[in-house]
């Protein structure tokens, strides 16, 4: 799938290697969707919250809060997800407290295979399909998912439960969760990468795992922090001759040659990634912001315009 219909999905999961800019891409996708009049929820998964602060708001914590018109955020953590889910099952708070706040039971809940992941994913997917007065509560839920290995664990949870849990409420939940996650009409898993050797390798592996191992609908691949093409080969040669010139020329030439070399390497990696994943990439510009905030996110959203 190209990026063009990405924001028409109900659920977009954003993942990739650590440090590639998943939160920025999640925030920019939300901003773009909000510009198109959509109501968006961005869910972070048991993280040090980044999206709300990036958009200029306070962290939301475990309770959904609107940070900009049309954009709400939440940080889903296992403890609150458990409480919400358990209360849906047992209905009575006193019973919940007696059972689930028991110290031993807490141990148990932490060790039950993938329970934390199930609850967090369940909470997010529940938001993605919930309706108020016949209308979806959210037009789009963007999940700022954990990095590679943990994301595969998280997204693989319903599948793993279906394989191991023979019956009961947990299995019924796993069934609808898997149905939503694997539905290419409602869901897409978007990847974020950087134009560098190791991130490209890891992105290609992750893309293959999402397709083959998890059988989930693969969305677009964002190539973040792509340097611009600013200097021709001829100019680079001329600038190399003046690297040691006194300021301002020498330092400016150095900066330019570093930038140009970075661009050449990045282009080679972009080509490599495109070949490995077998589909076009959505490049996002490398931006020189001293501090990373809402203005930077807006610029990324601008760059996405017309591509998603």
């Amino acid at each position: 799938m190209s990026g063009s219909e990405l924001l028409d999905r109900r659920l977009v999961v954003v993942t990739g290697k650590g440090g590639v800019g998943k939160s920025t891409v999640s925030a920019a996708l939300a901003m773009l969707a909000a510009r198109r009049g959509k109501r968006v929820l961005v869910a972070e998964v048991d993280a040090r919250e980044r999206v709300a602060p990036m958009l200029g708001g306070r962290p939301s914590g475990p309770v959904i809060r609107e940070v900009l018109p049309g954009i709400s955020t939440v940080d889903v953590d296992p403890r609150h997800a458990l409480e919400e889910y358990a209360l849906m099952v047992v209905k009575v708070r006193a019973i919940y407290q007696a059972v689930f706040e028991n110290r031993v039971v807490r141990f148990f809940l932490r060790a039950v295979p993938s329970l934390a992941e199930t609850l967090m994913l369940g909470k997010i997917l529940h938001e993605a399909r919930s309706e108020t007065s016949g209308r979806p509560r959210w037009d789009l839920v963007v999940v700022d998912a954990p990095a590679t290995g943990h994301a595969v664990q998280l997204l693989g949870v319903p599948r793993a439960l279906l394989a191991t849990v023979p019956g009961g409420p947990l299995r019924r939940d796993a069934e609808w969760m898997q149905a939503l996650l694997s539905d290419p009409v409602r869901t897409a898993i978007a990847l974020v990468s950087l134009p560098e050797e190791m991130p490209v390798t890891e992105t290609a592996e992750l893309d293959a795992r999402i397709g083959k191992e998890l059988s989930l609908p693969r969305g677009p691949v964002f190539l973040n922090a792509m340097p611009r093409e600013l200097y021709t080969e001829g100019e680079r040669e001329r600038l190399r001759a003046v690297l040691d010139a006194p300021p301002p020329l020498g330092p400016a030439a150095r900066a330019a040659v570093l930038q140009a070399e970075q661009r050449v390497r990045a282009s080679a990696q972009a080509t490599r990634l495109r070949e490995l994943v077998g589909r076009p990439l959505i490049p996002l510009p490398l931006l020189a912001f001293d501090r990373w905030g809402r203005r930077a996110v807006e610029r990324i959203a601008d760059a996405m315009e017309g591509q998603v």
Partner: protein
């Protein structure tokens, strides 16, 4: 030799920690390589599923076995080490299985545990399991092998403290008496379990089974029952690991890129290591943008650059003004990165006092031995 490598002299174990994507694997391999160059017998152990180290070391696959980096790989990079460099990739599942085999009283118990569904989840997917096994493997390597230096490249953990806490957290559960009684109706049923279930705890178990389904509960019960005899062995070993981590022969190395998040994470880890009495050998600020304008006065605009350009190139030609504008812009952008990086490096230096090295962004990714050697020169 830089401040970090000097601080690691005399250490037998280096544990490299930091958030994902900051270059931990490269730093780990560079540390091990550097000692091997000087004649040491060193091992770098990584856990990363992307097999980055394998690529970096020119090895096909690593899979829980220590493999000598072949002489040809060094020769290709123009390096002649006096010692030997080994590399391995940690296989979490296999490390668990080995640990069970080590502690199981007999083959039948071992096989029952290895076949239990809950065990398979605990050993494969449980949060903290990777971190626990990384520490376990490190202990095994440091007590049963004779490397001069073992460098552990830690997994890109979402919760840095999992290293310190995961073993106890996991063991507290598997060894918990009450838990065992609560979730072991299957093994205790013949004896007093049925009665226990009816009294008090039955309410808890019943409510939980409405929640998870009763099969999950009895799987957990089976697992806990089988694990009972091995608990002490596991516990002893986990405590030995913890003791090892406080020894002066061990050094933690914090790695961060100059981004606010990565520095936050490194400093958070630093404080907890200090509190836990674990020795921090030093910190690395990796991939720092160099400062190209350490001069008084603001950055130049287009005009002075254009003049200098015209003078230097003799033939000013038509495109000069345009090129000068781009040069001035590129320098401004470069310095914006450099300023932001310098701010984070300074925060790292203050927050984690002690040996600190700032590694400039090197041309190209570090993905081969010569790249690692170039990196080591900055450590």
């Amino acid at each position: 030799m830089g401040a970090l490598l000097r601080s690691l002299e005399g250490k037998r174990v280096a544990i490299v920690v930091g958030s994902g994507g900051v270059g931990k694997t490269s730093v780990s391999a560079a540390i091990a390589l550097s000692r091997a160059m000087e004649g040491g017998r060193t091992l770098v152990c990584t856990i990363d599923p992307a097999r980055r180290l394998a690529t970096a070391l020119g090895l096909g696959s690593l899979g829980n076995a220590e493999a000598l980096v072949p002489a040809e790989a060094f020769a290709r990079s123009g390096l002649a080490p006096k010692g030997q460099l080994f590399a391995m990739m940690l296989d979490v599942k296999r490390t668990w299985d080995d640990l069970v085999a080590r502690h199981a009283p007999d083959a039948a118990t071992r096989d029952r545990i290895l076949g239990n569904r809950v065990y398979q989840q605990v050993s494969g997917a449980l949060a903290g399991s990777q971190e626990y096994m990384a520490m376990e493997k490190l202990y095994e390597l440091s007590t049963e092998r004779d490397y001069d230096l073992i460098v552990l490249d830690t997994p890109p953990t979402s919760h840095a403290l999992d290293f310190l806490e995961a073993p106890d957290r996991i063991l507290d559960f598997v060894g918990n008496e009450t838990a065992r009684k609560l979730f072991a109706p299957a093994i205790d049923a013949g004896r007093f379990g049925a009665r226990l279930l009816q009294a008090g705890t039955g309410f808890v178990a019943k409510t939980l089974s409405r929640f998870t389904g009763s099969d999950v509960l009895s799987d957990v019960g089976d697992f806990l029952g089988q694990f009972q005899g091995m608990y002490d062995g596991f516990k002893e070993r986990a405590s030995a690991v913890r003791t090892l981590l406080t020894q002066p022969e061990v050094g933690f190395v914090l790695v961060a890129s100059p981004s606010p998040l990565s520095v936050d994470e490194a400093l958070f880890f630093h404080d907890h290591l200090r509190k836990a009495g674990m020795p921090v050998a030093g910190a690395v600020s990796n991939r720092v943008t160099p400062d190209l304008w350490p001069f008084p006065g603001g950055l130049p605009g287009t005009e002075p650059v254009a003049e200098a350009l015209a003078a230097a190139l003799a033939s000013a030609g038509p495109g000069t003004e345009d090129l000068a504008a781009r040069l001035a812009l590129t320098l401004q952008e470069h310095q914006a990165f450099a300023r932001s990086d310098a701010r984070e490096v300074e925060r790292m230096r203050r927050g984690a006092p002690g040996p600190h090295v700032a590694v400039p962004r090197l041309p190209g990714d570090v993905h081969d031995l010569s790249g690692l050697a170039a990196l080591a020169a900055h450590l």
